[in-house]
């Protein structure tokens, strides 16, 4: 029993740190560290640099051009990249559609799509949720009807993250309305430039442009863009849920934001002294730091269990719940640390493309935005239902 990383793992960490020092542009780093949004180009440029280093897809097998890293290496990379202020990896192509294509896609689909995902050339988005199908995803109603060698798709997807940047969307659509809800669903790949696709932003509480409604009006999708078999889409979507869940806790990001919280609390004044010296506020920070320290070990325990191929339990859902709560707590403390300056909603200070302004107070938007963490990817309440089921209740 010990907590130390192996010599190889430590060397790997140094290699990652070196890469980040050399290849992460300072302006992007500063934006990330001060909570600003990034442009499509900035995200893609970062993906391109990772790709050039051979790290474009850390979890993919080598045969598909991936780095073939094990779970511990991926964890180390995520942590270092987050701490350094690297852009987050956009998961929709890399971590969502790609594993499905590798497992269930045709050779032609793999050849067509995977290389452009890893290079960052193609931006993917997700078409799962609908106005009437959120947690109850299987009740989705977007309809795909076969007409010759095409499907004709009609319906509406929602909570589509960064779809306004996307070239392609992977969708769950209903192909058999008569079957049981889970049995009549098909997994389609749709070109966002297809006639009949329209994207409209959803105004959010923080004022940011992040999610969209996507409409499909008689959109013609070639049969070759169906993944796997017709009406088996639910199986493929569920496969995704069990995939790459050990990074779900966001420990690296939480550490980065905790450091930001401490910097902010050290700079803010109360009674002429740093807010960090206020016993009540210091105790609040200490509590979340302790929770995060525990989560980090819990996460490492899950990684080790996975490494020794112990059967996965409900841990991933637990990591998601606790990780989201901790990140939300940190964002709340950041907001409270700013005092009255939490009130100004300075969108101008954080909008994509703007030069990062370290003095801009945009902690409120961050606090508001982070409420999503316990909602997306299966609400924390849904996660609890899943865990309870696994515990035999």
């Amino acid at each position: 029993m010990h907590l130390e990383f192996t010599e190889e793992e430590r060397a790997f960490r140094e290699e990652v740190q070196r890469f980040l020092r050399e290849r992460l542009p300072a302006d992007i780093r500063d934006k990330v560290l001060s909570g600003c949004e990034l442009t499509r180009d900035e995200y893609q440029m970062w993906q391109r640099r990772l790709y050039e280093r051979g790290w474009g897809a850390m979890s993919w097998p080598v045969q598909f051009g991936g780095a073939g890293w094990n779970a511990v290496q991926q964890y180390i990379f995520e942590e270092e990249a987050a701490l350094a202020g690297a852009p987050r990896l956009i998961p929709f192509g890399l971590k969502m559609v790609a594993p499905v294509l590798m497992a269930y896609g045709s050779a032609a689909q793999q050849i067509k799509f995977l290389p452009k995902i890893i290079s960052g050339e193609t931006w993917w988005c997700q078409g799962y949720s609908e106005p009437g199908a959120g947690s109850d995803l299987a009740s989705l109603r977007t309809r795909a009807v076969r007409e010759g060698d095409h499907y004709v798709v009609n319906g509406q997807k929602t909570w589509n993250t960064l779809g306004h940047y996307a070239d392609w969307i992977f969708c769950l659509v209903r192909t058999d309305p008569q079957a049981k809800p889970q049995s009549g669903i098909t997994f389609l790949l749709i070109d966002m430039k297809s006639p009949g696709v329209s994207v409209r932003p959803i105004a959010l509480l923080d004022g940011g442009r992040e999610v969209n409604d996507v409409w499909f009006e008689n959109v013609r999708v070639p049969l070759e863009n169906r993944v796997g078999e017709e009406n088996r889409g639910w199986t493929y979507a569920k496969f995704l849920l069990g995939h790459e869940r050990t990074l779900i806790a966001g420990v690296g990001t939480a550490k980065r934001e905790l450091a930001r919280l401490k910097r902010t609390a050290a700079a803010e004044r109360k009674d002429g002294r740093p807010l960090l010296d206020d016993p009540l506020f210091a105790a609040r920070i200490a509590r979340v730091e302790i929770e995060l320290a525990a989560l980090e070990i819990t996460n490492l325990r899950v990684l080790c269990a996975e490494r020794s191929s112990q059967a996965p339990g409900p841990e991933a859902s637990m990591l998601k719940i606790k990780g989201s709560e901790i990140q939300q707590d940190i964002s709340e403390l950041l907001m409270r640390a700013a005092g009255a300056y939490a009130l100004p909603m300075r969108r101008d200070a954080m909008e994509a493309g703007r030069q990062a302004d370290p003095n801009a107070v945009n902690v409120m938007a961050g606090y508001l935005n982070q409420r999503k963490l316990s909602i997306f990817g299966g609400t924390n309440e849904i996660q609890k239902n899943i865990i309870a089921k696994m515990m035999g209740l």
Partner: protein, 382 residues
């Protein structure tokens, strides 16, 4: 990183579990508690045969020479059984303290017989106004020729009445709150001037107020130097704190398992109450607390004897916060989800709850350690 038990740790954990399953079922615990004796020497002898009191004694003194990771494996196994015997008090804390002075003949002799389970020792350190601050010692030791004379009052000393020897801290110099000036004495049972006022604690352990009035001790019974024993005492309590975290994790697992089982079997409104989502989510919250607590019990075990005192204290305070919070939540909710039955003495869940409550308080509760952690670590990163 490796969070698995070694083969030896696994064997120890298994051996203790199967011994306790056979020799210390819940009915046995209830019988011992109701007898008022406070412990069962037969259980203690059985544990001694398994090597429990020898675990942390150096091999040169007839012990097994193990350390915190094995202690974790032991305490995790002991936790669910709620042993009343002085495993934590004597086999972990007093042993750790004596190990610091194992070069001295009286300490070595005592350790030898403790390893065989023949003698029991307890540390009498904290005082009524100390509130978990190890430096707040007011008990005085006055040099008197070849002897010392001790005067003072030690509070809530666990297993003091069972102990053949009390390890008593006292000031030869300095004032309460100072690091310097604390000495440690071996005080044998029956020493004139030593008086115990015994009672039971909430979790059924025996404890006592220990009064020293002009208690005369030969200087040979002083362990180590006359004024710098505090470091050793703190080190021993840190090892005890880590052990209590492992014990707590074991108890929390048992309380969670029992609660899940109860929810699966208890029927109301024509169905098992585990079908109700409000209760399901509560159980999941318990399970998450348990995982966080278990993680911190590992951290505590791996850091409790670290030479870097700052790192050690940070880790232990962090662990104690998580263990305290988790223990309170799991204990309270285990009672809540068992409904009225959780309130009864008849079910083990109420006993687990009481022990978890006691562990939260021992060595300083969550708030105490939260403050300590904040004082040690909430500095802005460079």
């Amino acid at each position: 990183m490796d969070f698995d038990f070694s083969d030896e740790q696994r064997q120890l954990n298994d051996a203790v579990r199967s011994f306790l399953a056979k020799e210390h079922p819940f009915e046995r615990l209830l019988a011992i508690k109701r007898s008022g004796s406070g412990w069962d020497p037969k259980v203690w002898r059985g544990l001694a045969e398994l090597g429990v009191p020898a675990l942390n004694v150096p091999t040169a003194l007839g012990g097994l020479g193990y350390g915190p990771p094995e202690t974790l494996a032991l305490m995790d196994a002991c936790g669910p059984s709620l042993l009343l015997e002085p495993v934590l008090t004597s086999a972990v804390i007093a042993t750790a303290l004596l190990n610091e002075f194992a070069g001295a003949v009286p300490a070595a002799d005592l350790l030898r017989s403790m390893a065989r389970g023949e003698r029991i020792a307890a540390v009498a350190h904290f005082e009524p106004d100390a509130r978990f601050d190890t430096r707040r010692v007011t008990t005085r030791a006055r040099a008197d020729g070849e002897s010392y004379r001790l005067d003072g009052h030690k509070a809530v000393v666990l297993h003091a009445g069972l102990a053949d020897t009390l390890l008593v801290s006292a000031r030869t110099a300095g004032e309460a709150g100072e690091d310097h000036g604390v000495a440690l004495f071996m005080v044998a049972r029956g020493t004139p001037g030593l008086r115990l006022e015994e009672y039971s604690t909430v979790d059924g352990q025996r404890a006592a107020e220990v009064y020293l009035k002009d208690a005369k001790l030969h200087a040979a019974h002083r362990l180590g130097s006359a004024d710098s024993a505090l470091r050793a005492i703190e080190a021993a309590f840190d090892i005890g704190l880590a052990a209590s975290c492992a014990e707590a994790a074991g108890i929390m697992q048992a309380a969670l398992n029992a609660t899940i089982e109860y929810l699966r079997t208890r029927q109301q409104f024509g169905q098992p109450i585990g079908r109700f989502q409000a209760l399901q989510h509560r159980v999941v919250d318990m399970a998450i607390h348990l995982q966080q607590a278990r993680s911190m019990s590992y951290l505590a075990a791996l850091r409790c004897n670290s030479a870097d005192i700052g790192e050690r204290r940070r880790a232990l305070s962090a662990a104690k916060v998580v263990i305290g919070d988790a223990g309170r939540f799991i204990g309270q909710q285990a009672v809540q989800l068992h409904g009225g039955m959780g309130m009864t003495d008849e079910l083990q869940v109420s006993h687990w709850f009481k022990r978890l409550t006691a562990i939260d308080i021992m060595f300083g509760d969550s708030d105490t350690h939260l403050q300590r952690y904040a004082a040690l670590s909430v500095a802005p990163p460079v």
